[in-house]
Symmetry: C2
Subunit: 331 residues, 2 copies
Amino acid sequence: MNIYDIAKLAGVSIATVSRVVNDSPKVSEKTKAVVLKVMEENNYTPNVFARGLGLGSMKSVGIVCPDVADAYMAKAVSYLEKNLRGYGYDCILYCSSYDEEDKRQAVEMILKKQIDALILVGSIYANISGKTPDYIRDIASDIPVFLINGYLPDPRVNCVLADDFQAVYDITEELLFAEKKRILFLSNSQSYSARRKLQGYLDCLKAHGIETDGDLVLYSENSIYATRDMLFRRRNLSFDSVIATEDGLAIGAMKYAAVIGMRVPEEINVIGYNNSELAIGCSPELSSVDSRVEVLCKMAIDSLMSLLGGNPAPQKQLVKCHLVKRLTTDF
Amino acid sequence: MNIYDIAKLAGVSIATVSRVVNDSPKVSEKTKAVVLKVMEENNYTPNVFARGLGLGSMKSVGIVCPDVADAYMAKAVSYLEKNLRGYGYDCILYCSSYDEEDKRQAVEMILKKQIDALILVGSIYANISGKTPDYIRDIASDIPVFLINGYLPDPRVNCVLADDFQAVYDITEELLFAEKKRILFLSNSQSYSARRKLQGYLDCLKAHGIETDGDLVLYSENSIYATRDMLFRRRNLSFDSVIATEDGLAIGAMKYAAVIGMRVPEEINVIGYNNSELAIGCSPELSSVDSRVEVLCKMAIDSLMSLLGGNPAPQKQLVKCHLVKRLTTDF
DNA sequence: TTGAAAGCGGTACCAC
DNA sequence: GTGGTACCGCTTTCAA
């Protein structure tokens, strides 16, 4: 059942049917009603490909993230999908993995799908160089590109990010006020976000005239056991508090504390990041920074819709984080 | 830059260009090389819409799940996406929510996108009636439909599911052997999977001649705090072990135990489901059933590719679960 | 307000 | 092997 069939049955031309489908104002109410009725009766759905061909768009946006199995990204994708659909946009999902070359490929692949916009989830797309990767720059000159929780200098890539620097700065300061002398900083990546967090830690120590001990900045993959074991391998390292860039890392640290018989929070304070379900599943429950993904995603969608509507939108937006305190920072 | 431009530059017809693009065998190596070179130089990409129009397919599969923010579904979607892409298929994602009407709408919407196949993630699509919903039946007569971890009787809907019945039956039996007298069954839904789990529990008790106490079958949303609080509201209920259909519920039970001062596993044993990160984040670490999502997804993809290749595939496939024992069942 | 017809960018059948 | 051409189903301009 195509537009010709409907036109024939309704006794009008395909142009008129098209107008009705697209809700054009210049169709008389009468003919509109007739066409609508015929469409209804025959359960007609316009062919999306033909539509795409004519319009040059299928109303879809590409979402690329390293891995949806990660809770943070899953939350972001969930929110984005739900709301984009509300605006009539489909979501094509690509999980790119964390590998540099795979990331480039994913973006290049998805670009070929004639998406109306691209949303990159995760600051991993802002690599260590601080420069905008060429593959992102290329696509940004064609369609709106958004980066969720990352910063890329190119003005055409719209960035929405959490103020991770300030969040960690504040936490560090709070620990210092609580007389903590050796704060361990646990991170799992070199992403933009992770680097900002580290900077917050370093700057705060500096501001308080405290010399940074390089041993207190450690990396591990975001896995509870891996983190615990990594710490155990360095068990001669002493620390009285932990700031982790992911809840998984923080809990790994708590497991380690349990292994060596240190009590949390009495002897070691721990702070995680993302305020995931993990943070309330453990005991004692973990204080964790709420990085407010939904807010970031909402801002991105608002800006995107503004852009697609032909209006300007803020290019770089910063959102304040919020530390949710629980028992691991009970001091 | 379209196929006409390439044809002109290469000095051939569009038919030949099309053949090269589609890797047809009947093109001489020489002309093929010329065309390929021109395409390369101009960075030519065939228009997906035109291609879709001609072929009636854009090589995409629809993935519908209630909510990707859920760890189980996120894992499934992640696996499906990665592997479908390996076969050259795009994924269009729809999060339908758990609402019956929303589910129907999501499926109807996605059908219009001319997807080549539909994958439903989560046994929530197999509703309590046990019958195949009409909207699923309709689409199943057009394209391959897969249900991950659910059972629908219609032979055209391909089901891949975990043997949740047996898993819970076995666990229940094990608890009985450990002299547990009052096993609490905690569930969060009426999905097919949840019903099979309950059946495993009930049948096992029956097989051992134990009368079921209706009070010991409880429902709660899959949230740690909600579950804890629900149990606290019924704190006069006594039980010595818990089987939960989700890790979140299980941990809620552990939190409750902590509140009322019961020790796990000494006084209460707890078993969760899905073997998520939550299970190792808590302490003591939670024994949990590995429902083997990846295996289910792999089987679905294998069958799907078989079907799309014109070959038959098994319609209903059952996968054995595996209980991962940790400290909460240390008896 | 309506219709005719020219694209949109491919695929694939049919000749040669 | 290669080229010509009739679709695929819709949008949109131009006339009427």
